[in-house]
Symmetry: C2
Subunit: 171 residues, 2 copies
């Protein structure tokens, strides 16, 4: 039974959304997904796609996906590849599909001149952590992830002076 | 003495590189910067810029910068804004310049339809952590940052089957 890794097309969008929802359930955040097919279509398959996606088929059945985009390292002065999602449906685990997806993403990173491939993993997801360690990954645990969203983002944005800004220092 | 926040131009590239180097020194990684002016020019000011940059001038002197790009939230099905670097030169601290830069980045995020603004901070950088908390930021400490680079990335990429890939499962 062969695994095929292929680039996602517009026709895969319903399946991509199903994978995103299944991953959110696995990550204990089943209610966090507000993405829609329209949004995924617009952002991944329009004239200026924001993300790219690979689908793994197992004997013709969609078994997993990898969704990524490019970021930037100012230290290296080079683009990097950021892997937002990597997921294999539970019934297809243990077949090397996750490994094949990660290898393909790494190959795309190298082809595109990226010197690094990055992603995040939940600290309780021991099987994934062990898998990534076996792939040669390092863990950047001195860096904390920070986020502003919702009302805090609106408040921060509202305090900005219109660009180009001319402000008095706050003290 | 007024602070002006403005969009960086090609002419700022030498100053941007100087800021990147000064930030790397502050982050205890002075040898980590291999970026060049040519690379920063190509990636930020070419036909398809990978990053954007704001410069803060204090009384006409470049005092700090914010460098960002867009990422993607599959849960939200929306782009997000990722702040790669935020830095104010030590001699210009305490004037509210970092706050003004962060506010402007937040305003750009909101204008661009982003529902969140994210970045990273070193766990020993207490002044920055306190500053971000005061701005309403949350810390996503259950997520660990993972990276593959150098030989490990080449090894992983080399194991990929050419796309479209047809592989035998590993077990």
């Amino acid at each position: 039974m062969a695994t095929t890794i292929r680039t996602a097309t517009e026709a895969d969008v319903p399946q991509i959304l199903a994978f995103i929802r299944a991953l959110a359930v696995y990550e204990r955040a089943p209610d966090a997904v507000t993405a829609t097919e329209d949004g995924l279509l617009r952002d991944g398959f329009g004239p200026n796609p924001i993300y790219s996606c690979l689908i793994a088929d197992q004997s013709g059945q969609p078994a997993g996906f990898a969704l990524y985009f490019f970021n930037y390292s100012t230290w290296m002065g080079r683009p990097g590849l950021y892997l937002e999602d990597l997921f294999v449906h539970p019934e297809f685990r243990g077949l090397g599909i996750g490994r094949a997806l990660l290898q393909q993403v790494a190959a795309i990173a190298v082809q595109r001149g990226c010197l690094r491939l990055q992603w995040e993993v939940l600290d309780w997801n021991t099987p994934a952590i062990d898998f990534y360690k076996a792939m040669g990954a390092e863990f950047l645990d001195e860096w904390r992830n920070v986020r502003v969203s919702g009302e805090a983002l609106d408040r921060l944005a509202g305090a900005a002076v219109a660009e180009p800004a001319e402000t008095e220092p706050t003290k």
